[in-house]
Each structure stands twice: as structure tokens, then as C-alpha cells.
Amino acid sequence: MSDVTLDVRNLRTHFFTRAGIVRAVDDVSFTVWRGRVLGLVGESGSGKTVTGFSIIGLIDPPGRIAGGSIFYQGADLAKLTEREMRDLRGNRIAMIFQDPMMTLNPVLRIDTQMIETVQAHAKVSRAEARTRSRDALGMVGIPSPDERLEAYPHQFSGGMRQRVAIAIALLHRPDLIVADEPTTALDVTIQAQILAEVQKLAATYGTALIWITHDLSVVAGLADEIAVMYAGKIVETGDVGTVLDRPLHPYTQGLIGSVPSRNKRGSRLRQIPGMTPSLLDLPQGCAFRTRCARADAACQSDPGITEPVPGHALRCFHPLLEVTA
């Protein structure tokens, strides 16, 4: 495999709340390669967003990185000072959030916000910064970027706003973009436009992407690798085709079975019983065992990571090895 952009090892991000320690991210490891897309999939509260925030250093108290490493070009992001992290953030590592209306400043024009971002990391003139901003807007497919630079965020539609957010993330040609549910709020046709831009980007500049989403279908079409999170842990990871076509973990299989398009029309959907447990009160051992049909006494101890098939790792004592999906 080609060069590694980011290597996350045994990351633990815990929130020390009054009600107890919330292990939002608990022993998570994965690798992101240059020009490739990792789909980080999970349901609400699985820890996928906290994983993204940990990488870009946006964890606020009572949360903190309690252990593990995030290696980027030999340096451990988890141990950088705030000042060092600031040099990287928005420069080499950028983030795109779910709701662009929340991340763009509503009282500043787009040019102000973009020029500020350029000058934060590059010693260039205002005119040069403006040119770069315009080019970035053009790159994400915003028509007449010169005029649009002078608009305010509310003058853009939702899809256009997300394009602006992506353009800002692109300003410094980052090595890694962490995208947290960036198309969830968008309509299908607009989502496809954004996904097309993202694919072009990864192919052209070799940008590595972590695509955080709950939508398996988007990941299926976009990502190279997939990591499925449940209750703060990655329960299954591997090549997208392998994991989605032959899921080994009962949770992944349940998740895939829940997607309507996979089922026969009008038939009952295969549902996972129960609901996601509270992170404050996780079942001992495998967190999924209370909802799992294959669980037995062994599941009360913690299943380690195994790799029954090369390149396809999971945490389960009873993988669905004999089952062909």
C-alpha cells in the first residue's frame, strides 16, 4: 500500500463527567493512506465524531485524549501543544462539518473569511490571498466565484454553503480532510455533486479523507476502506467491498440488513433488537452482546482484535465466517 498519511493507534478519548467517565473513543486504531478515502461509519453516539475531533484537536474539557497516539508525518498529534496544533489545523489537516451555517460566520463576507484563512498560514498579500480564495471557490464548482466572494453565507443555498466550507478546507491543499457528515443535510442531487467534487480532489491532489457518516450507502460508493464503530470501538474494518459484501461482525451485518434497499421490497426489514446502550453504562465485555443473537458467556470478556481474513479485522468471538451474505 502506498504512503501513510495518518496512523491512529489505540486512541482513547474520554469525557470525565460528573456522572462518570464516558469512554467515547476507546482503543481505536486505523490508518489513512494518501489519496484514499476511509469511511468511518456508526450510529449516533458511537464515537465517530469524537474520533474526528480528536484528530484535529478539538476536544474540550471535560473530555481529553486519555491515551494512544495519532501519528502524522512522524509526529504524535495527541502530544502537540495547542500552538503546534494550530499550525497544522486548517493548514495540513482540515475539517468539514455537518452544518455549514454553523461553521461559517454569518456576519462576515465569504472573502473576509477565506482571506483570513489563507493569511493565517501563508505569508501572502491580500490580493494573492484573494486570488487563491477565488480559485478554491472555482475548484468546488461555484459559478462566478469573483462575485460570490462578496456575498454573505445566508445568500448561499445549503449545497453552495457546503461547497464554500469545502473550498475553505482546500485553501492550503491539506494532506488530510476530516469530513463529519458533510452531505447529510443536503438533497440527493446536491449530495451527488459534492461527492463528485470530493472524488476529483482525492484523485487530483492525493488528499486523504476520513469520511464520517451514518449512511452506509454513501460510504459504499465513495470510500476505499471502511471502519464500523459501535459504542466507542471499531468493531470491524477492512476494504469496503469485503466488509459490505461479507460482513463478519453481527453488528455490521445487522446494520447492512437494516438498509431498506438491500431487502426485498415490502418484506420486513432485518432489525437489530434493542437500542444503542448508554456510554455511561456499557455491558461488560463486548458492548454489542445484549443485542446480539450469537452472544454467549464468552462475550462477557472483552473480544480483542482478530484478523480472520487478511486485511479484514474485527472484534468478535463469534464472527459470521461460515455465512455468505
Binding site: 453552495m160 440527493v188 442531487t189 450507502s217 459504499a220 438491500r262 437500542m275
Partner: protein, 338 residues
């Protein structure tokens, strides 16, 4: 899943809904002045729903698909009787709701219930679950004296909730459970028709599957008719007997579900289907329909889709295409069909 064509439950005839701005006196004077100078004042009316005909037969599940701002929620609200159409008629079992007497109208409205997208916003946070579910049937005299508790328990159990939780408030429940409360509330007044407006859009996949299964069970158990509004084609395909596709206030295509997913006719439907991410696809080349959804304040002339349509001809920008039958039960509004 096919149903024998029954009698129409709901019929919409040429229904339109316009939302206009109320001008204050200064704005009215200004508009009159500019009109006097020969300038036509800008029209600030949104045609949210534009001349829609729709028949939903008893026992049927009809899916209504469209992107944000296409008017699908407005249409759903008119069906549910929450808002009145600006033009046209909504017939419930063959009779116009507006010509009912007050008493009849109340009965008709009870028979059509709505389930909303956001279970966080559509439940009163200050009421206990028992009160949320039991209030309407009690007010309408559906519960015999002294049977309030057992009635509410039965409603909760049917929606898959433990009646032990009925003294709790909505914030003590998860999203999926809250949606179940919304369903229990709608079913408590013994409706025959449910309008589900993006009822599973806010839920996680595994919870969504539970709620969709519940909808299908309830349909079999209570002989319900559904208008299922969603932007998620996967959900609609799974559930519906017939599908309507809406774009900027107009129905552009309607057909039985298998038909529309196999042989979409309208270029918009085709584009929509092509762009739906599917779990079976790998390394898809995303393309995207070009352009944005136009503002409903100023929709394109002729066929609303023509600025984004790859097949647009001169005629498309002038003439509104009629919704014409192209196969039995399959209607499409496109000039390409001749």
C-alpha cells in the same frame, strides 16, 4: 405487496397552495405607485403546491418523493387537513372536507392523522407520555369513563413501548422511542389514514428499520392507508405501492413502485434515481444533476426542470408539460413523450 384497488380514501382535485406575503400599507402604496408607472411589481407569492391531482385508495401506501422545498410537506399538511388549499378540493371518502358540517369535519379530521419528522419538536415537552397519547381520545369522548389508563397502555404497547414509562416526559426517551410516542398518539384516535412526513428521516439506520417494520405491522393489523412523504428513495421503494415524484410544486411522475424504479420516464426521476447512493455500488463515479434547485419564488417557465434537464428543447421553456399516461397507471409530465 399489491392491494386490490379499493375505493378512494383521499382525492385531491386541482389542489394548489400559495403562500403570499401580507403587505403593509406602505408596501401596498409603493406597489401601486410602481404599477402606475408601468412597472409590474414583483410577485412575492410562492406556489408551494401547483395544481396537483392525486387519488389514494383505501389500504394503499403511496410514497411522495421530492427534494427540499418541492412542496411535499405542504401537500401532506393539506391532506391531513392542517392547512386549507388555496384552490381545488380535498375529498375524504368522496366528500369535500370543507363542505362537511362542523361535527362531520371533526370526525373526518380524526380519521386522518399525521406523524411528523422531528419527534423532538412534535411532542409537548411539559406533558407526560400518558397525557400526550391520551389527551385527544379523551377530549373526543373515545375513552369510556375509568378506562383511561388501560386505553393508554394499549396504545403504547401497540407502538412497541413499555406502558411502565407512561409517567415519563418526552426528554427521557431516545429518538426512536419518541417517534413511537408520536405514532401511539396518532393511532390513539383510531385513524384510518396516516400522513407520515419524513417520519424516519431523523433516526439511525437500525432504529429506522424498527420503525418501518412497525409501520408495516400496523398497516396489516389496522388496515391503514398511508401517504408516506420522504426524500429517501430507498425507504419509499421498500414501503410503497405507488410513488409520486414532485418537483417545485408539481407532480412530474407517478407510477406503481416497481414500475417507477424499473422504468423511470421523467428526466428528473431518472436523475434522482441515478444519484441515490446504494449500498451495492462500489467506487461509483458521482456526477450530480447540474445546477441547483431553483427558488420557488421565481420558478423557471414552462417545465420547471428544463434549466437542469439534459434533454431540454425550446418547447420546454415555454409550455408546461401535461401529466400524461404513458403506460397503465404510469403518468409522466415531459414533452419527450410527444
Amino acid at each position: 405487496m399489491t392491494t386490490t384497488p379499493g375505493t378512494p380514501a383521499i382525492e385531491l382535485k386541482g389542489v394548489s397552495k400559495r403562500f403570499g406575503k401580507n403587505f403593509d400599507i406602505a408596501a401596498r402604496l409603493a406597489r401601486r405607485a410602481s404599477a402606475a408607472f408601468g412597472k409590474s411589481p414583483k410577485d412575492l407569492t410562492v406556489r408551494a403546491v401547483d395544481n396537483v391531482d392525486m387519488t389514494i385508495r383505501k389500504g394503499e401506501v403511496v410514497g411522495l418523493v421530492g427534494e427540499s422545498g418541492c412542496g411535499k410537506s405542504t401537500l401532506g399538511r393539506m391532506v391531513a387537513g392542517i392547512i386549507q388549499p388555496s384552490e381545488g378540493q380535498v375529498l375524504w371518502q368522496g366528500r369535500d372536507i370543507t363542505t362537511h358540517s362542523t361535527q362531520e369535519a371533526r370526525v373526518a379530521q380524526l380519521k386522518i392523522q399525521m406523524i411528523f419528522q422531528n419527534p423532538y419538536a412534535s411532542l409537548n415537552p411539559r406533558l407526560r407520555v400518558a397525557e400526550i397519547v391520551g389527551e385527544a381520545p379523551r377530549v373526543h369522548g373515545m375513552i369510556p369513563r375509568g378506562e383511561f389508563d388501560s386505553y393508554v397502555d394499549a396504545q403504547l404497547r401497540r407502538a412497541g413501548l413499555d406502558p411502565a414509562y407512561k409517567r415519563r416526559y418526552p426528554h427521557q426517551f431516545s429518538g426512536g422511542q419518541r417517534q413511537r410516542i408520536g405514532i401511539a398518539r396518532a393511532l390513539a384516535v383510531q385513524p384510518e389514514f396516516l400522513v407520515c412526513d419524513e417520519a424516519v428521516a431523523a433516526l439511525d439506520v437500525s432504529i429506522q428499520a424498527q420503525i418501518l417494520n412497525l409501520f408495516m405491522d400496523l398497516r396489516a393489523e389496522l388496515d391503514l392507508t398511508y401517504l408516506f412523504i420522504s426524500h429517501d428513495l430507498g425507504v419509499v421503494e421498500h414501503l410503497s405501492d405507488r410513488v409520486f415524484i414532485m418537483y417545485l410544486g408539481r407532480i412530474v411522475e407517478q407510477a406503481p413502485a416497481e414500475e417507477i424504479f424499473a422504468r423511470a420516464n421523467h428526466p428528473y426521476t431518472q436523475a434522482l434515481l441515478a444519484e441515490v447512493p446504494r449500498i451495492e455500488t462500489r467506487k461509483k463515479q458521482f456526477a450530480g444533476v447540474k445546477g441547483e434547485i431553483p427558488s420557488p419564488l421565481d420558478p423557471p417557465s414552462g417545465c420547471h426542470f428544463h434549466p437542469r434537464c439534459p434533454h431540454a428543447m425550446a418547447r420546454c421553456s415555454i409550455e408546461v408539460p401535461a401529466l400524461r399516461e404513458i403506460a397503465p397507471g404510469h403518468r409522466s409530465a415531459c414533452h419527450l413523450n410527444g
